[in-house]
């Protein structure tokens, strides 16, 4: 059980009006804000829209926090919301230009930033379903049964999607790496 789970459990609000701030919300927000925003970015929410999308997501989280089962890990629960919000967002916003992460603390060394940029752009090239597989499995470390449970899809479908997603991700990285502007310095040939 991580910190957020304990805090949410400790607050144990019995009845919260949907329009009130849940007693466990602020600790959850403090602990998991970065995680949620990171997930949204990886799932294709542009930085320019991150504030709006994360805000709406957290409002929903607050409203549903009483339904959260503290026996479960908090992050898969949060991630399922991120998937839904990112999916809706992607349906509504297409052909927007990619942007960089100015909201991120400026602590990234340039090569690391470039690598992240490459990852995000490669993920961007994937379909939403396959992008979700890379994010959940290869970035967040969920195993296939967990993904199947969270997304409510058959286990074999998860395996299949992961394989296909990796192929697409590989192709996207290869294509993007051919562009010297996008290729991380650490991967450039001198």
């Amino acid at each position: 059980m991580n910190t957020s789970e304990m805090q949410v459990q400790a607050s144990s609000p019995q009845t919260q009006h949907k329009s009130a701030l849940h007693a466990g919300f602020r600790p959850l927000f403090e602990a998991e804000f970065d995680y949620v925003c990171r997930s949204l970015r990886r799932l294709g929410v542009y930085e320019a829209d991150l504030k709006d999308v994360s805000q709406e997501l957290f409002v929903t989280i607050n409203a549903n926090l009483s339904d959260y089962d503290p026996a479960r890990a908090i992050r898969p629960w949060l991630f399922s919301y991120a998937v839904r919000y990112a999916s809706n967002y992607r349906r509504l916003s297409r052909n927007k230009p990619h942007d960089s992460d100015s909201h991120l603390k400026a602590m990234d060394a340039a090569p690391k930033h470039e690598a992240r940029n490459l990852v995000l752009r490669a993920l961007e090239a994937l379909s939403f379903d396959r992008r979700t597989m890379i994010v959940m499995h290869d970035l967040e470390g969920f195993d296939a049964p967990e993904i199947a449970a969270e997304l409510n899809i058959p286990l074999n479908t998860v395996y299949s999607r992961i394989r296909l997603a990796r192929e697409d991700f590989r192709a996207a990285v290869t294509n993007l790496s051919a562009d010297p502007q996008l290729m991380p310095a650490s991967r450039r040939q001198s």
Binding site: D34, Q55, F58, L104, A115, R116, I134, H137, G141, Y159
Partner: protein
């Protein structure tokens, strides 16, 4: 976690993803801004929303003292609007404070006053001209005064819209229309224009004046294409 039926990820891709996997943080200002908006949306979305008035204030104090206040309305669940308040100067901001402990704050004017007071002249002075603490103090005081006056107007705006909402809630759409129109006359470019228009659209629709409601709804979508009130507008004008 491993899935044995899957082949291991290629080393180069794994290395690339490892960089992305490392935790990274978003700026505290961004985080505070989102939290403030969430608190606003939550605090003002319920039935007691009109009286709540919770606010997050982003105060930027500059050399010039003419402050402008921006107000954005939000709405959730077809309820009542939420508000975000920002004070900006017309010059380059010299200091930014984003308080988000809104639980104890119910008066926007008090928020601004408290926030502005919290900016010490010493904090501002280095950003202005060395030794000009007097200038900074004056700037803060004036900004606070302007903000307080502006928020008095905001309270009046809200009062009229509360009348409109209450009338709508009691099934008296014509009274709601009258109140909304009064608001429009007094504050054609007020802080609560977005909320007023939604109430008016709802009231027109409830009064059976569908064509007018549709026309207003079209205008609303044009002027506020990203409004969180759009679902309420659509619901009001649905066939």
């Amino acid at each position: 976690m491993s899935d044995e039926s899957l082949e291991p990820l290629a080393d180069d891709l794994r290395a690339l993803l490892e960089i992305e996997k490392a935790d990274y943080a978003f700026s505290p200002a961004f985080k505070a801004e989102v939290l403030g908006h969430v608190e606003l949306a939550v605090g003002l979305s319920g039935t007691t929303a009109a009286a709540a008035g919770t606010a997050v204030a982003t105060v930027s104090v500059g050399l010039k003292t003419a402050a402008a206040i921006g107000f954005a309305g939000l709405l959730l669940g077809g309820g009542i609007g939420a508000s975000a308040v920002a004070i900006t100067t017309r010059t380059v901001p010299q200091a930014v404070i984003v308080p988000h402990e809104s639980a104890a704050v119910r008066d926007p004017a008090a928020v601004i006053a408290a926030t502005a007071s919290a900016i010490s002249a010493q904090e501002l002075a280095p950003a202005l001209i060395p030794g000009t603490t007097q200038v900074a103090t004056t700037a803060i005081a004036t900004a606070t005064t302007v903000a307080t006056v502006q928020f008095r107007d905001l309270s009046k705006e809200r009062e009229i819209l509360d009348v409109a909402r209450a009338a709508l809630g009691r099934g008296r759409p014509n009274d709601a229309i009258t109140a909304a129109q009064e608001h429009a006359q007094k504050w054609p470019r007020g802080y609560l224009v977005e909320e007023r228009e939604v109430v008016l659209i709802q009231a027109l629709a409830a009064a059976g004046r569908k064509p007018e409601a549709e026309r207003k709804a079209t205008q609303f979508r044009k002027f506020f294409p990203k409004s969180m009130l759009l679902p309420a507008v659509s619901a009001a004008t649905a066939p």
